[in-house]
């Protein structure tokens, strides 16, 4: 760092060494019809996927079409509130806007009967005991707090069942 000579008035004050320069993008997100159906289900404590008529795969949340076959998903499928952790991440860093205390666990949960994992938090278990294959169930907000948002599922917690065998979710890792 080059030594600069500051004017006398600035020599005895604490220097400013950094500035915060936020970059923000303000969008309006429009869910589309399929995801709107899903979010309405969430508001009534139901998890609704949609099935591709060609390959039979069930997508949740549904986007209205099958990315493999390129055709509309036609059948709505109500899914259970249990699933399997296929992969996870322990978050150890505090960051701006964070709602959770570190360390906490983000995971991909493969709901029973679905063919794609859903992102969620895993709680009610020590962070260092979360593992692939862990069986979990959705923990919902109070009924009067239910709304058409992912935040209606507070997190996922262990069901206490034995871990799912790797082969049962290996296609989804």
């Amino acid at each position: 760092m080059t030594a600069l000579t500051l004017p006398p008035a600035l020599q005895d004050v604490e220097p400013v060494r950094s500035i915060v320069v936020p970059a923000g993008l303000r969008y309006r997100f429009t869910a589309g019809q399929a995801t709107s159906r899903f979010l309405r289900g969430i508001a009534t404590k139901r998890i609704l996927g949609e099935r591709c008529p060609a390959c039979g795969k069930v997508y949740v949340p549904p986007r209205g079409s099958c990315p493999a076959d390129g055709i509309p998903t036609t059948d709505q499928v109500e899914l259970p509130h249990q699933g399997t952790v296929t992969t996870f991440c322990v978050v150890n860093l505090q960051f701006y806007g964070q709602a959770m205390e570190v360390p906490y666990v983000c995971a991909t949960v493969l709901i029973d009967g679905a063919d794609i994992g859903l992102f969620g938090l895993v709680q009610e278990i020590p962070f260092d005991q979360v593992r692939m294959g862990l069986r979990v169930e959705a923990v919902w907000v109070e009924d009067d707090q239910l709304a058409p948002t992912f935040e209606s599922v507070r997190w996922w917690r262990p069901t206490g069942e034995p871990d799912a065998p790797y082969d049962s979710y290996r296609e989804h890792v």
Partner: protein, 170 residues
Amino acid sequence: MTSSQGQSGQEVLSAPLVVEYPFRRTLGPAQSAFFTGLREGVVLGMRGSDGRVHCPPPEYDPVTSEDLTELVELGTAGMVTTWTWEPSPRPSQPLDRPFGWALVRLDGADTGMLHAVDAGSRDRMATGMRVRVRWAGERSGTMADIACFEPEPPGSPGSPGSPQSSQEPA
């Protein structure tokens, strides 16, 4: 969350979505001095190898790329060298009413600094107009410590025709 009618007659949901990155940027010696100065109510420039004074101050010489070290205290008024009008300000902009974006060449500097001019109307903006700093009420060492520039009243020290006028490069 709001909704509108979709093609099938079902309502499509829609909601605000904000993606925000609160970057913190270290300043280096030249900009550190500049922002410290703003917090203390002083505007600093940097003299380059060719004698020109740049504001805001660069860390390296624009011509030779050598380190620069000669800070220069500038006046807090200057001249608009070019400008454009902002008729509908956005939320994060310096002013919440229509204003001018201008390059302001402060007295004692040879380059222009981009900032807002609270001119009130487009008709009051002109290349060559004299403006002065309006300091923010509370200053913390950011560009917003200069709330904006405002037109300098006629007859002010440093305005055209007054003895203190300093239009020549330092």
